[in-house]
């Protein structure tokens, strides 16, 4: 029997109400680069969190075997002792410490009460040259770019005697050259016998470096492909990734599509921190009255950034381009002016950007349109209570009273409160960013119904979602966004998951990869 460096057997992980992983088996051979691909939310990250001890051994079912020996990880430290090191998508470096300090954080050289700095810095410099970084290890993290930070993370892993290096979307925030450099580094390490697990949804990258690819969908392993047996076929991978049939999970809509309400032309946005990095590039887009338009794209494609930059320039800098509402050009420089021009942005991150969790449903509902419940800046508390009850009843928010704290509500009901806030602001154009994220199927259906109702009232809706079935299910028209550019536009009826995926993959900038 073949021996694996690492084996995960029958892994099942259940979150409250969701089965995130179902009987997943994964085998990693020594010295290979094993890629795990899947749509957003397929369960890739959950699987890796289990492997690295982020979710302790008792919280899931199944076994982890390293060198054929069963292991139980309760903390990240325990998995690192076995040589399993994960590099998360969001880098976990302390910006004001030096490279070396970061590399040996929690793994300091010397004794507890006397760190050996000479040893720290000389070892750090050795490791840095291994990953091809020329910076001195005494440079502060904040002074180097993301690409180099990613390399520091790898050097940090090397400092821990890594046997299996797990990289979660390592190229998500890198430009092409940096990404290429990183992938080549992985190939270099492979030559020296290191094993890596690469999580990505950029298929060209995966095909470039991986020896084997495991496709995960809805928490289950669909297939594992082996380069040695058969060359990778992107179409096959896409099919495996998205091949799920759509039933009538989406309510019907009877909206008449009217004239153009929103026109965005040549919209270009730069990253707020990294000079010259364009997050959105020359985006042209129109919305019509009564129309639900989808904005599809992978994580990091710039969907949220686009929507937020439209909404009173809440994101980015050096924003150029024009916005026309009902044919008239408008300047939306503040959120206030956006709201006054009947725009609403429903954030993807309801907890940190949308709701005031410690406050009542009522306060949250009226926050964006207080002038409706006040006269001369004085709030009428009775009227406020009444409208809050009315709006939330319309959306069927389940609560004992609108005076209840939003904190106490379920995800679906919190989302309804967020929607009620923006519906109460009486917009004509709604930018809905992942309005169904993290809520269960029943609540999703109710949100779709609300969206339909809004469209039937003649409002225009831009629907941003990572879940393709959902985009296909409710949108009249779909724009495909990739790396900050619109790479495709199709009507809802002609669109399919394969088409969207193909649009994205064919237009990825990484053309220089073979």
């Amino acid at each position: 029997m073949e021996t694996f460096l690492l084996e995960m057997k029958h892994i099942t992980k259940i979150f409250p109400g969701v089965r995130a992983l179902n009987d997943v088996n994964l085998q990693v051979r020594p010295g290979e680069i094993h890629a795990i691909v899947g749509e957003n939310g397929a369960g890739k990250s959950t699987l890796m969190n289990i492997l690295s001890g982020v979710y302790p051994a008792s919280t899931f079912e199944g076994d982890i075997l390293v060198h054929g020996k069963s292991c139980q990880f309760h903390t990240i430290k325990e998995s690192e002792e076995q040589g399993i090191v994960i590099i998360h998508q969001e880098l976990a470096l302390v910006p004001y410490l030096t490279i070396a300090e970061n590399m040996f954080l929690g793994n300091e050289r010397g004794r507890y009460f006397s760190i050996d700095w000479d040893k720290t810095y000389s070892r750090a410099d050795e490791l840095l040259s291994l990953v091809g970084l020329e910076e001195s290890s005494k440079t502060a993290i904040k002074d180097i770019g993301v690409g180099k930070q990613q390399l520091v993370e790898i050097a940090k892993a090397l400092a821990k005697n890594v046997k299996v290096l797990i990289l979660d979307e390592p190229t998500a925030s890198l430009n092409d050259t940096e990404a290429k450099k990183l992938l080549d580094l992985l190939l270099q390490f492979k030559e020296r016998g290191m094993t890596s697990i690469l999580i990505s949804h950029k298929l060209n990258e995966v095909a470039y470096v991986a020896d084997r690819i495991t496709v995960i969908r809805d928490g289950e392993v669909i297939t594992t492909m082996d380069k040695a047996k058969e060359a990778f076929d992107e179409n096959k991978i896409i099919n495996a990734m998205v091949g799920r049939n759509i039933s009538d999970r989406f309510p019907k809509r009877n909206a008449t599509i009217g004239e153009v309400s929103l026109e965005v032309e040549h919209w270009t946005v730069s990253h707020p921190l990294y000079e010259g990095m364009k997050v959105c590039e020359d985006i042209n887009l129109t919305l019509r009255k009564g129309e639900v338009v989808g904005l599809s794209g992978l994580m990091g494609a710039g969907r949220t950034e686009f929507a937020m930059s439209l909404f009173g320039k809440s994101y980015g800098r050096d924003i150029t381009g024009t916005i026309k509402i009902n044919g008239k050009e408008v300047q939306l420089n503040t959120v206030k002016s956006a709201i006054e021009n009947k725009l609403a942005y429903v954030t993807e991150d309801r907890k940190s950007n949308g709701l005031i969790l410690s406050k009542s449903i009522m306060l949250n509902t009226t926050l964006a349109n207080l002038k409706e419940v006040s006269r001369h800046q004085v709030i009428d508390p009775d009227l406020e209570l009444k409208v809050a009850i009315d709006v939330n009843r319309k959306l069927q928010t389940k609560c004992s009273s609108v005076l209840e704290e939003v904190n106490n509500l379920s995800g679906g009901n919190q989302q309804k409160v967020l929607l009620s806030k923006w519906i109460f602001a009486e917009p004509d154009i709604l930018l809905l960013d992942e309005p169904t994220r993290g809520i269960d199927v029943g609540a999703k259906y109710e949100i779709y119904c609300i969206i339909n109702q809004l469209a039937e009232e003649g409002k225009s809706i831009l629907f941003i979602s990572s879940e393709m079935p959902e985009i296909l299910g409710i949108c009249d028209r779909i724009y495909v966004l990739s790396e900050g550019r619109i790479v495709g536009e199709m009507s809802g009826s002609e669109a399919s998951q394969e088409k969207i995926m193909k649009c994205i993959i064919q237009n990825q900038k990484g053309d220089q990869l073979p």
Partner: protein, 393 residues
């Protein structure tokens, strides 16, 4: 939709008030059993109001700062000293017109507040640092103005606006009856307002609290008002400063609970990003609260120089701590977004009673400080724990 406004909830919402009342009773028992008079002696009540007027004024402003996200203003005490010094110079040394002097003092407070507000709100220098700098700066300017000396005494035309009593007669019987009548009128106005509010709510078809609740609220508050006014009547009447305090407390209470900009304070403290994305200009909110704090510091300074009848270089020392302490004792969250003017006032009275009670008992001043520290911590711990229990229920 039902509103659960049971007795249990009411008690839990008002823990600090109950703690305050319990503390008062405790001191009363200790004071009367040791034969040192009474906490509720008419002159002492008047004293309590005078002694703590500055805390009430400053705590009202400090609460607004804290609401925006746990931001505090450390410069308050120094601003009080500076404006006091200015008042002393204008009124005592230069004999300027009193109204003009007061106006200049208030404008100076506003300007200082705006200066600090600008750095905090628009340049985003952390409030702690900006106001720490202000604390040194304004104290220094105050010392420069005073040249290290104390200015006194203030003319009676000035102090009468802060220190005198109404009605202004020497006849105790008239004083007593007028004061009690004023108390009764306040109770009646409050009672009628409560009933009218209930009536209009019913008429518009809104939910109302149980009648017993309204009635018991009116009765309890009336008893408290009548007791205080009877005691004041037995002394010299209604202190003028009480009227000023009432205006400030009612005004700011209304501002925070009923107005749109007041609501913005809570929204910003609850979640600044969400507030921004709801169209709230959070920079302007921050600028306003610090400007306002400067203004109220000036008011407190004017009250202070009148009470001490002098403008001293050390005036206002530790005032910021009293104000901040009052807000937190009164249930304001150190992270912002939660807290009421009413709570801050209860906190201010609590601190006042603690000081006053221990002084009457003749406790050593050094001990007083230590005890105050422990009691402040205990009060807040008690409040936090009882609120936790409400949540888990």
């Amino acid at each position: 939709m039902r509103h659960s406004l049971g007795i249990k909830d009411t008690v839990k919402k008002n823990t600090m008030l109950i703690v305050l009342l319990a503390t008062m009773v405790l001191f009363q028992v200790l004071i009367s059993s040791s034969g040192r008079g009474s906490l509720f002696a008419p002159s002492n009540i008047s004293n309590l109001i005078n002694q703590n007027s500055y805390v009430v004024i400053l705590a009202s402003g400090m609460l607004l700062c804290i609401l925006t996200g746990g931001n505090i203003d450390l410069s308050v005490g120094s601003v009080v000293a500076l404006v006091g010094a200015l008042a002393g110079t204008l009124v005592v040394n230069l004999h300027w017109n009193i109204y003009l002097s007061i106006l200049i003092c208030l404008l100076t407070g506003l300007a200082i507040g705006a200066w600090q507000g600008f750095w905090i709100a628009y340049v985003r220098i952390p409030p702690f640092i900006t106001t720490l700098a202000g604390m040194l700066l304004w104290r220094g300017v105050a010392l420069l103005i005073l040249n290290g000396l104390t200015i006194s005494p203030f003319p009676a035309e000035y102090t009468k606006y802060f220190n005198s009593f109404l009605p202004n007669t020497g006849d105790p019987a008239t004083v007593f009856s007028v004061t009690v009548i004023v108390g009764v009128i306040i109770c009646l106005v409050y009672g009628f307002w409560a009933l009218f509010d209930r009536y209009t709510k019913k008429k518009k078809g809104y939910a109302t609290e149980p009648f017993v609740m309204t009635l018991s609220k009116v009765i309890l508050l009336s008893i408290a008002v009548l007791v205080v006014f009877t005691l004041l009547g037995k002394h010299k009447g209604v202190p003028v400063i009480l009227i000023l305090l009432a205006i400030i407390v009612l005004g700011y209470s209304y501002y925070t609970s009923r107005t749109v900009p007041g609501r913005h304070l809570y929204a910003m403290g609850g979640n600044e990003k969400a507030a921004k994305l709801s169209g709230i200009d959070t920079n302007r909110v921050l600028f306003f609260v610090y400007t306002n704090m400067g203004f109220l510091s000036a008011v407190a300074a004017l009250v202070g120089v009148a009470r001490f009848n002098s403008a001293a270089p050390t005036a206002g020392t530790n005032y910021e701590m009293d104000a901040i302490g009052s807000c937190f004792i009164g249930g304001a969250s150190a992270y912002g977004g939660t807290g009421t003017i009413g709570g801050a006032i209860i906190g201010a009275i609590f601190m006042g009673v603690l000081n006053n009670g221990m002084s009457i008992l003749g406790i050593d001043a050094n001990w007083q400080k230590a005890v105050k520290g422990i009691v402040v911590l205990a009060a807040v711990v008690f409040d936090v724990l009882s609120k936790k229990r409400v949540k888990s229920n």
